[in-house]
Symmetry: C2
DNA sequence: TTTAGCACTCTCCGTTCCCGAGTGCCAACG
DNA sequence: CGTTGGCACTCGGGAACGGAGAGTGCTAAA
């Protein structure tokens, strides 16, 4: 059954008022908020109807109305006014995106913090690469006992490790190893690195000291962990909300969030720019059943994509949050797509004169 | 005034009982806990005395006793029995320290998590290097538009950055730059990198394209941020404690902790192996006035040192926490002092067969 | 000096009670 | 017939109250 214009107006007023106040909304309040010309009595009739239809709920007989998940869903799909970001907000986001950091994962983490600050809800970031491989190897000789492994991965992340060994080797050995690894270890995934491959590499390099294993171990470790990562920030913001006045409830949700494995199971596939909203029971995880999650995807180029999102109570300012996340994800995609122009290039950063 | 043997026994019983129960301790309970032969009435007299002397406090006239900061202090200094770690605990710590990670900062972060798990209190880590300098430069040529900067810093951390440029350069140029930077930028602190130095380096390298600035910027950025870092984990554990049943209180403390700048002001100088305990009002920061902090220092070699600690209510199992932190810090020092033996060397890690 | 006894104090918790917000329904109205 | 004012009703929440229990301080006796 289709809702009348007036019913929609009323539903919107209830949702928005409840988002602001966190308290059941009465008929009088709706009248004021929606600037309706009819009387509270009329509104009561409509409220009763909306309640019958499952858009609203009553905590108890003589209380005001509270939106149900169904109510929020309708609100998000149809009633919500697209919220434009203020110049201030876009300016803040742009500025923060501009002074980004050397490492990709730190950058994403920072963006997460930014989302927390802007929405004052906990933010989560998830990044995943379809298949990470090594694009290039380098071994830097330091002295006869130590060298640095430098790996350039797809997605243009660089990983490295300093290795000290209890025996000595020559610069030549390293060069040979470097060549062999570049030949046989590039472009392959973690699963392709078998004991046989390592064996044959060892023979090809004429390595008698086990250097090959050391390097191979690092490659495996790197590929295994470089694939993605999840990060949560600003969990403490939940504690400000009235729905988490019970520390236990907050604790359960925070615990759930801090286990990165849980986040991986969030549904990912949204189009870039699009924002996905999961309201209360629409979440698969039990711990999120009375919270909402707003997600936006970003594109990091080179088969890498990621999600940035926030978690909050079902009573959440969906339009503001969605607008902000969408803008952030868009900005991040743009930033990463451009092949990562050199930071600091052109403007020399001397400490102190930067900001 | 010196406390009698019996008074000390009683004080200890009160502190330990309160640590366990979080509730004011009565005379009968003390009698049982301390296994005293005298009657509750006698103990009441002693409790009254201890209260007069400021070691204990009474929430209200007819309640049991609660230790004051002064009481905890005496307990920590004199009364506390050294807690030996169980084999299980040392085993856990050793195992976790063993499978450490490639990057130093990740390692420290992991150790923080470990401290949280073992003590079930929020853990903090702070690391600081007296003066970070670059020990060695390398520039890896990728193609005519891109290269990787690799910096080996004191403390044997390696930092890197991938640089794409909108114009092309030759492998030769990079080699020349590399040599020049190795000559003039190594061994100097961030503050020594002046515009003049960059200018003269640029001239020495015959660099006409501004590559020098790009690299210098990265060096400055790296030195500025590599100096140290703070990290907090497990804040949510506070929510389990009865003293934080007020979400606001928890929120304030967590907020304080999550601002890394605050942590830097914690007093640092402890001898390695020694553990520093700050009880309630002994803390300088207002936000910590009714919490306690236990800190242990570790030595990361090469002028690097750090602190690992936990934060909890004044009612904290000091002896267990101190023993654990001390052991962790000791293990970490040993691990880092040995010049970081190669991870994975000798035991090849193939995913899946590791644990 | 220790102990038993006792009166006293204070918190905690359950009960009761009232207030007010808000509802549903009904009858009247344009 | 939709809308409106009126009214009785419901229910949660906070204040007020009271008893139970835990623990104390004091006193007097051992």
């Amino acid at each position: 059954m289709e809702l009348s214009q007036r019913q929609k107006k009323i539903l919107r007023a209830v949702v928005e008022e409840y988002i602001d106040s966190a308290e059941p909304v009465g008929s009088r309040t709706v009248q004021q908020r929606a600037a309706l010309t009819c009387s509270p009595a009329t509104i009561r009739n409509e409220l009763a109807e909306l309640t019958r239809e499952g858009y609203l709920d009553q905590p108890h007989t003589s209380a005001g109305r509270v939106p149900t998940a169904k109510g929020y869903r309708l609100y998000v799909n149809e009633l919500m006014r697209e919220r434009e970001l203020t110049d201030d907000e876009t300016e803040t986001i742009n500025r923060k995106l501009r002074d980004r950091v050397a490492q990709l994962d730190k950058l994403i983490e920072n963006v997460g913090h930014m989302a927390t600050e802007l929405t004052s809800y906990p933010a989560l970031t998830i990044s995943a690469a379809a298949a990470v491989t090594v694009k290039r190897f380098d071994l830097i000789y330091l002295d006869q006992n130590s060298f640095i492994i430098v790996l350039l991965l797809t997605g243009d992340t660089v990983k490295n490790k300093l290795v000290h060994l209890p025996f000595s080797f020559s610069q030549n050995t390293l060069q040979r190893l470097s060549a062999v690894f570049n030949a046989s270890f590039t472009g392959i995934g973690e699963e392709a690195i078998t004991a046989e491959l390592i064996d044959s590499t060892e023979r090809a390099a004429g390595d008698t000291m086990g250097l090959t294993s050391v390097i191979a171990s690092f490659v495996i470790e790197t590929l295994a962990t470089a694939g993605g990562g999840a990060n949560v920030s600003g969990e403490a913001n939940l504690l400000k909300l009235p729905e988490f006045k019970d520390p236990d409830k907050a604790h359960r949700l925070i615990n759930y969030l801090s286990d990165a494995a849980n986040l991986a199971s969030l549904p990912g596939g949204t189009d870039f720019g699009d924002v996905k909203v999961l309201i209360g029971p629409e979440n698969a995880a039990l711990e999120l059943k009375d919270s909402s999650v707003v997600l936006a995807s970003y594109n990091a180029g080179d088969n890498m994509r990621g999600i940035i999102g926030v978690v909050g109570p079902t009573r959440m300012d969906y339009s503001a949050v969605a607008a902000k996340l969408s803008y952030i994800a868009g900005g991040l995609s743009k930033l990463l797509a451009g092949g990562a122009p050199p930071s600091g290039y052109g403007k020399l950063m001397i400490k102190g004169d930067d900001k």
